[in-house]
Amino acid sequence: MPRSVPVTVTVNGSTHEREVEPRTLLVHFLREELDLTGVHIGCESTLCGACTVHLNGRAVKSCTVLAVQADGQEVTTIEGLAPDADNLHPLQVGFWEKHGLQCGYCTPGMIMAAKQLLDDNPSPTDEEIREAIDGNICRCTGYQQIVDAVQHAAEAAGAA
């Protein structure tokens, strides 16, 4: 069998130690080793954004990050965004309120990409939102309600 290397990754606040093949992609590590199946695979080529997670607070596409590159780092996935159903992140509330999802497959990545935007720019214009999620494909919604969802979250955060 291929040789394994140890990795230690803090995911959603918990530290996990695993032995993985060096070629293991972060998305497979999260899905297969840690059962974080909210991280989805859409293209395996950094182009669709379904696998977007945060690595040390910045959005990355986990299909083109190796698990070993996350060694010693902190990862946040969609599962780590809200502690429970009663304390949703404003972006999760926005997507729910504004019908920002249909099949839901792109949604975790879309929310994590939008989180990066709002972390950097708490009051974006519609155009800035469209630019920020340009690396994330949604085939269902036509994006308009996603823009509304992100605006809803921005307004809620601004009011808080």
Partner: protein, 782 residues
């Protein structure tokens, strides 16, 4: 008929689906984990046509972690051919095996399957399978494939033409002789990739003890999966459970049961272990059915006042290398819908569906109707240009009158209801059409290429009735619903439709809540599991509400009637003196009453038996639609073309649609905007391309352009309401309408922008290169 008080129906209720999906807690097929799981990967043909000389699997079988490698030889005689769809008289027999049986017919066809302990090991070992193929000449271009001497996809057939259906019409010939003018066009509806964000995924699990097969598959019609696998593997359907869990989009391409579905079931039974497979995006672009792929020729006879008298059309549809579930029907439905919303006296048509050495085509969001709408809406603009009339005026002149419904078109479609003027008027008002045209004139004076495109279209929804499909596809197109009331009065709805983003868990909960006066949170909607939902058909053809919702309405009505009878007995009053409102049964003119929840408990406790009734409160209903529905719309798009680059900016998009009665306007808007964007994707960017030799050129997201957020302005939506009487809800269906209207609308806008240069057509996709070349050619011609 009972009319339930609409406390929540008609309102923009937030989705019940979302709390799990926004937290990453939905279970898609690839998320299923079972003890002892194995993982499959496929060896696929690199050649579009050829004979397999040999397959050597020894090295792959020896690879670390590999459990088994199978080819056709391993399963010959144990399984039937691949499930294919439409079988119609006159079609040659063309079986499609689960794995290539000595020959390959398209690039991407599965040749061998590797099963391993990990996905990585399975994929590694596919590279060790040696497949020796003697290539032969492929036929790729659909028109070339029709030639008598063209290489044949199936050597055993006389021709690549699978069906040829001429519908001549002497009346059309006569009108062509009488008409003031005629024109002809050749229109291409290019192949596109459905590209759901979740590709195909399958997890098959044979349990030897109970003799039970469970398949999780990312599919729109799990009951049909169950039936197809039963036929293919010769396992009684009573031992098969098909589950479509969360499904990450389908758009028609997940209606069919693919060869990989029964194949992996066979593998699981052979290994007595579960096996899972999720396709890569490249496999998805190679091996998921494509949409469209039509070449159309159209001749039009019309008067100088803009009235269109007759059409003569020809559809050439690419089937690809095998007959998909709906393929030939899609080709035929373009003729059926050729009149659009216009009163055209006569139509002659000829339809061809033709095999080529490419992936099969199948239903894709609209399936035959977008092609028809594209033709007639492009025609209306060219008639306007030829007569010097405004495109809106030409459409008005030809509309079917609102008092003429039901209306039978010259191509044989029976339209249920319509009021095309009303929808168009609202769109014109919303846009400020005259001002928009004036602004366009000023822009043109400044040398800018600004275009305004209009589409006024209708389409067919709510598929059924069963007579249209059952004889050819071994499947009726009714729908089922079961309503089960618990002793508490909480309600479970089991529906035969299989939503994958449409939101029926919410819309159906709204209907059930209104029927019984319970809260939406007191209703659970179950779908996509053949062991829970006894019978059903699926979600496609914009039928979720119009057919599935109608079945639910029937079941709710049955349960309500029984609850009323039980209440009457307990209240010691005749049934016809029981009033019902908002969850309370009252004896008319008295204060004697029972709540729905009290009745539900009485129905289960049964300590007081109700004569003539069984205990419990549950009903099953099946709705067979008496006809189809015909939603319609009027769209407008404004674009500006950059003459230096050919780049097109969409500046404005307005859509006014009419899809009858609306259950949840927020969900309807989502379907509409998503559909419009998908249609614009075809108009402007998307194109599945094969080279002349049959190799796929658009096999990754680097090569296939899916619409992205920054391509679009904010869209403006409104709707009018013209109910249908085809179902008890008055709802027409919404899923495909946006795609059908937007494609011709955008192309009309682009051509309108370029018309001052003498350009009268741009083939889709109107990518910058193509537009720029058209501008250059027009300039050098002048």
């Amino acid at each position: 008929m009972v009319t339930f008080r609409p406390n929540s129906v008609g309102k923009a209720i937030k989705r019940r689906e979302d709390p799990r999906l926004i937290r990453g807690l939905g279970t898609y097929t690839d998320d299923v984990k079972l003890p002892g799981m194995t993982y499959a990967a496929f060896v696929r043909s690199d050649f579009p046509a050829g004979a397999i000389r040999s397959i050597d699997t020894a090295a792959a079988a020896d690879h670390a972690g590999v459990v088994a490698v199978y080819t056709y030889a391993d399963m010959d005689g144990q399984v039937g051919p691949s499930p294919v769809g439409a079988e119609m008289p006159g079609m040659g027999k063309a079986d499609h095996p689960l794995l290539a049986d000595g020959r390959v017919l398209h690039v991407g066809q599965p040749v061998a399957v590797v099963v391993a302990e990990t996905p990585y090991a399975a994929r590694d070992a596919t590279g060790l399978v040696e497949v020796d193929i003697e290539p032969r000449e492929a036929v790729v271009d659909v028109e070339a494939a029709m030639a008598p001497d063209a290489p044949r996809v199936y050597e055993e057939l006389d021709s690549n033409i699978c069906i040829q259906v001429p519908v001549p019409n002497p009346e059309a010939d006569k009108l062509f002789e009488q008409a003031d003018q005629t024109l002809s066009m050749r229109l291409l509806n290019q192949r596109v990739a459905p590209f759901p964000m979740e590709g195909r995924a399958i997890c098959a699990h044979w349990e030897e003890g109970p003799g039970k097969l469970t398949i999780w598959t990312s599919n729109q019609a799990p009951h049909f999966v169950k039936q197809q696998i039963a036929m293919c593997l010769r396992i009684p359907e009573i031992r098969i459970r098909a589950i479509a869990p969360e499904v990450g989009g389908g758009f028609g391409a997940k209606i069919p049961t693919y060869p990989e579905d029964p194949l992996l079931c066979w593998v699981s039974r052979k290994l007595r272990r579960p096996v899972k497979w999720s396709e890569t995006r490249t496999e998805n672009l190679l091996g998921m059915t494509h949409g469209r792929g039509h070449v159309e020729k159209i001749e039009v006879a019309f008067q100088n006042d803009g009235r269109v008298l007759a059409l003569k059309g020809q559809t050439i549809s690419e089937l690809g290398a095998w007959r998909s579930f709906y393929g030939p029907f899609i080709a035929l439905s373009t003729h059926t819908m050729s009149c659009g919303c216009y009163d055209i006296k006569a139509v002659a048509w000829e339809t061809f569906a033709v095999y080529t050495n490419t992936m099969a085509t199948e239903a894709y969001r609209g399936a035959g109707r977008p092609e028809a709408a594209y033709i007639i809406e492009r025609v209306m603009d060219e008639v306007a240009a030829a007569t010097g009339l405004d495109p809106v005026g030409v459409r008005r002149r030809n509309f079917v009158d609102k008092d003429a419904f039901p209306h039978t078109t010259a191509s044989g479609a029976v339209y249920d209801s319509g009021d095309y003027e009303k929808t168009l008027d609202r769109m014109i008002e919303l846009v400020g059409y005259d001002d928009a045209r004036e602004a366009q004139r000023q822009a043109r004076d400044d040398g800018r290429l600004v275009g305004i495109g209009v589409a006024a279209f209708t389409e067919v929804c709510g598929i059924g009735p069963s007579g249209g499909t059952a004889p050819h596809q071994r499947m009726g197109t009714w729908e089922s619903a079961t309503v089960r009331v618990e002793p508490s009065g909480n309600v479970t709805v089991y529906t035969g439709v299989s939503p994958h983003g449409q939101g029926q868990e919410t819309a159906f909960a709204q209907m059930a809540a209104d029927a019984f006066g319970v809260g939406i949170d007191d209703v659970v909607v179950v779908h996509g599991d053949t062991d829970q939902v006894q019978h059903g058909v699926g979600t496609f053809g914009s039928r979720g509400i119009a057919v599935g919702g109608a079945a639910l309405h029937m079941a709710l009505t049955k349960v309500h009637a029984k609850a009323t009878r039980i209440a009457a007995h307990h209240l010691d009053a005749p049934v016809d003196q029981i009033d019902y409102e908002d969850g309370e049964f009252t004896v008319s003119g008295t204060d004697r009453k029972l709540t729905f929840r009290q009745v539900a408990e009485m129905a289960h406790l049964w300590n007081v038996a109700v004569p003539g009734e069984e205990p419990g409160l549950e009903a099953v209903a099946r709705f067979e639609p008496p006809g189809t529905t015909f939603p319609f719309g009027a769209h407008l798009c404004q674009v500006e073309v950059d003459p230096e680059s050919g780049q097109i900016e969409i500046q404005r998009y307005v859509a006014v649609d009419d899809f009858g009665v609306v259950i949840n306007p927020m969900l309807a808007d989502g379907q509409r905007i998503g559909g419009v964007v998908q249609g614009i994707g075809q108009a402007m960017w998307e194109e599945v391309q094969y080279d002349d030799g049959g190799q796929l050129l658009s096999g990754t997201l680097m090569d296939y352009a899916v619409p992205r957020a920054k391509h679009f302005p904010r869209m403006v939506l409104d709707n009018t309401v013209t109910p249908t009487d085809v179902n008890p809800l008055g709802a027409k269906g919404i899923g495909e309408l946006g795609t059908i209207g937007s494609t011709p609308c955008v192309v009309n806008a682009i051509v309108d922008a370029l018309r001052p240069l003498g350009i009268t057509n741009i083939d889709m996709p109107a990518k910058p290169e193509r537009v720029w070349q058209a501008i250059q050619a027009a300039a050098s011609a002048q």
